[in-house]
C-alpha cells in the first residue's frame, strides 16, 4: 500500500528522498520503496524517519482505514 502520509510529510518538510535518506542513514531507493509500500522498514528505521520529519509513528505509518 502506497504510503502517502510519509511522502506528504517529507514534502512539507522540504526534503527530497535523498535528503531524508541521508538524515536516517538509508539509501534513496529504500525511502522510495517505503513510500511506494514495497518495503516494510524495521521499527528502528521507522523511528528515525519519524524523528527526522518531526512526526509520530502513528502520523506516518498507522493505517486509519483498517
Amino acid at each position: 500500500m502506497v504510503n502517502l502520509k510519509l511522502k506528504l510529510a517529507r514534502v512539507e518538510k522540504g526534503l527530497s528522498q535523498q535528503d531524508l535518506a541521508d538524515l536516517v542513514g538509508a539509501t534513496r531507493q529504500t525511502i522510495g520503496l517505503i513510500e511506494k509500500g514495497r518495503y516494510n522498514p524495521s521499527l528502528n528505521l521507522c523511528m528515525k524517519i519519524a524523528k527526522a520529519l518531526d512526526r509520530t509513528l502513528n502520523d506516518l505509518f498507522w493505517d486509519d482505514e483498517e
Binding site: 538509508a26 539509501t27 529504500t30 524495521s42
Partner: protein, 143 residues
C-alpha cells in the same frame, strides 16, 4: 549499505549457499551411485558436506534460528530411534541395494554400532549448542 541492502545481501548469500550445498550433494551422489566410485574418490567433498551440515544445524540452534524447547527424556529417545532408523535404512539401501555389496548380518550389525555411536554424538553435540544458545539469550535478557 542500509537495512534493506543488508536483508537482500543476506537472502542472496543464503540462496547461493543453498545452491552450493545442493550442488556438492549432487556431485557426491553422482560420483557414488552413478559412476560407482568409492568414498576415497570424493572424500574431500563428503567431509565438506558433512562438516557443513553439522555446523549449519549447530549455528541455527545456537543463534536461535530454530525454536529451542526443553524436550522430555522420552522424546529424546524417540528422536534418537528415528535418527538411528533413518541411518540404518540409508546404510542398508546404500550397501545392499545400490552398491550390491550384499553385506552379511554381522557386517550390517557392525555398521549399526557405528550408526548408534555417531547418532548419539551428533545429538549430544546439537543439544550442547542448543543449551549454549539458550543460555546466551537468557543472559542477554537478564542484562
Amino acid at each position: 549499505m542500509d537495512e534493506r541492502n543488508k536483508q537482500i545481501a543476506l537472502k542472496v548469500i543464503a540462496m547461493m549457499y543453498f545452491f552450493t550445498f545442493i550442488s556438492l550433494l549432487g556431485i557426491m551422489f553422482y560420483k557414488q551411485f552413478t559412476l560407482g566410485k568409492t568414498v576415497a574418490d570424493f572424500e574431500a567433498v563428503a567431509m565438506l558436506v558433512t562438516v557443513n551440515a553439522i555446523f549449519l544445524i549447530s549455528a541455527l540452534l545456537f543463534f536461535g534460528a530454530l525454536p529451542i524447547r526443553r524436550l522430555k527424556f522420552k522424546n529424546i529417545i524417540v528422536l534418537y530411534i528415528v535418527f538411528v532408523l533413518m541411518g540404518s535404512i540409508f546404510t542398508y539401501v546404500k550397501y545392499n541395494i545400490v552398491q550390491k555389496a550384499n553385506l552379511s548380518v554381522e557386517q550390517l550389525a557392525g555398521k549399526l554400532f557405528i550408526i548408534f555411536t555417531l547418532t548419539a554424538l551428533l545429538m549430544g553435540f546439537w543439544m550442547l549448542f542448543s543449551y549454549l544458545g539458550k543460555r546466551k539469550i537468557e543472559k542477554e535478557l537478564n542484562e
